[in-house]
Amino acid sequence: MMIESFLERATPIWMSMEDDYSDIVISTRIRLARNLDGYRFPLAFTENEALQVEQAVTHAIKDSTELQENYSYFAIKDLTALQRQILVEKHLISPQLAKKELVGSMLLSDDESTSIMVNEEDHLRIQCMTASFQLQKAFEQADKIDRTLEKALPYAFRDTFGYLTSCPTNIGTGLRASVMMHLPALTLTGQMNQIINAMTRLGMTVRGIYGEGSENLGNVYQVSNQITLGKTEDDILADIQSVAEKIIQKERHARGKLMEKAELALEDRVYRSLGTLTYARILTSEEAATCLSNIRLGVDLQLIEGIKATTLNECVVSMQPGFLQHYAGDVLPPAERDRVRAEMLREALFQENMSKPIIGEKGEDSFDV
């Protein structure tokens, strides 16, 4: 497929699935780090070695009908800066790979659920995503690709240390399992710090989705395992499963408490956010993320009707700088982006089957400027 077809849709096909957890869990991601024996890791290798790794991977793909037919291959250097940014915003490639001018490439499945990064921090990173909370399904998919590739590639593996990786934090299984969760009630009730501390002690990490720096934009957090050696894949997945379930329980409990104690305040918050998104002319990404989070909570608690969770997911992805510029068809300075963001969100939420808000009588404060 052409790169454009991947850039067009804000949310991939796999995202539009709903299940018992989709009020809290947005998506699940599995990543396997693999390297080829006999080649230095990307941090130390020469351009020539990089090319050899690329070639070995290309051959492995050619050898597999499955990969050959359902995947597209892109060299990072052939993509524009904007195209790369959109791929990062969709979590299809890492920011680190997007920066690789010479040696990076990626393999992307047609439904965008799987991407294989070549020459990022490790020679290979197999990444599989599913909607909602499906660790097993995502792992099975990654494992399948791993088993396909291992037939053709000389993996760096030792009986003692398992799969060898550039960073000792990925050694062993090379497995990182992450669950992306929307936790507004835990954030609102000030319980997140406590949870983050507890997770750290259990060998898990909790981060904002956009990595360090933008801590909890839109109350979305990513819970992942920190330990990769000394446990089996099943153990790691079971740990994440039970930890994530605990957090889901806590979030549901907090939502229940909020509804019980402060339904009106909550409803007020939800509708103010809806008001902001349907009328604002300038929106920073922080404000938009907060409003979208509130509306999502309102939808999940049935305080508000007529807005689909999938629309909100789409908004979260497409309000990011890369997408906005793609939407506008132009490179935009930050201030312009805030204007386009407001315009885009207005459009998205009006389209959503909602009766157009009626502008009523002017309140008595209206002229009191």
Binding site: N35, D37, G38, Y39, R40, F41, L43, A44, F45, E121, D143, R147, E150, K151, Y155, A156, F157, R158, D159, T160, F161, G162, Y163, L164, S166, C167, P168, T169, I171, G172, T173, L175, N197, T200, R201, G203, T205, E212, Q226, I227, T228, L229, G230, K231, T232, E233, I236
Partner: protein, 182 residues
Amino acid sequence: MICEHCKQRNATVTVTQVQSGQKVEHHYCDVCASQFHPFHAEFKQEPISIQQLLSNWFGSPSWQQQKAGEKQQAQPQPQTCPQCGFTYKQFLKEGKFGCPSCYDTFSEHLPKLFNRIQAGPQHIGKMPGARSNVYVIKKQIEDIRKRMKVAVDEEQFEEAAKLRDEVKELEKHLQFEGGDVS
């Protein structure tokens, strides 16, 4: 100096962080320092990077800590990776290895590191297809040998002989799978 976390004990550990291009130094006592999880200190600043951690925890490699006058080890360990030229010191600085062979070169130092930052020093997860058989068989042989020893100790020689035959059988399999019998 007093530990900036507990504000009670003397600060003995210095952690240098780079925050938006600025170097910031933090001082902790070893009690507080040892409580922080390797990668995510429980305070609001950015997590301590692995490099800083490694240099803090594993500061100078053991061969440098040898006091003057102490007997040198009879066989000096190879300190430079033959494939990528990385030294252990460089690994501590980067927090990353240069190539797969680094793991062989520095294998002696790694269990200590993995005991701290991982769940242990031994991989027990999946392995590339062809190897998994070899590994599984090796494990089986190991287990049976242990049982054999117990049997011998308990003077149950008939049982021991049976187990010995099992081992022999498995070793044949192992050779067939291409694993070396050792």
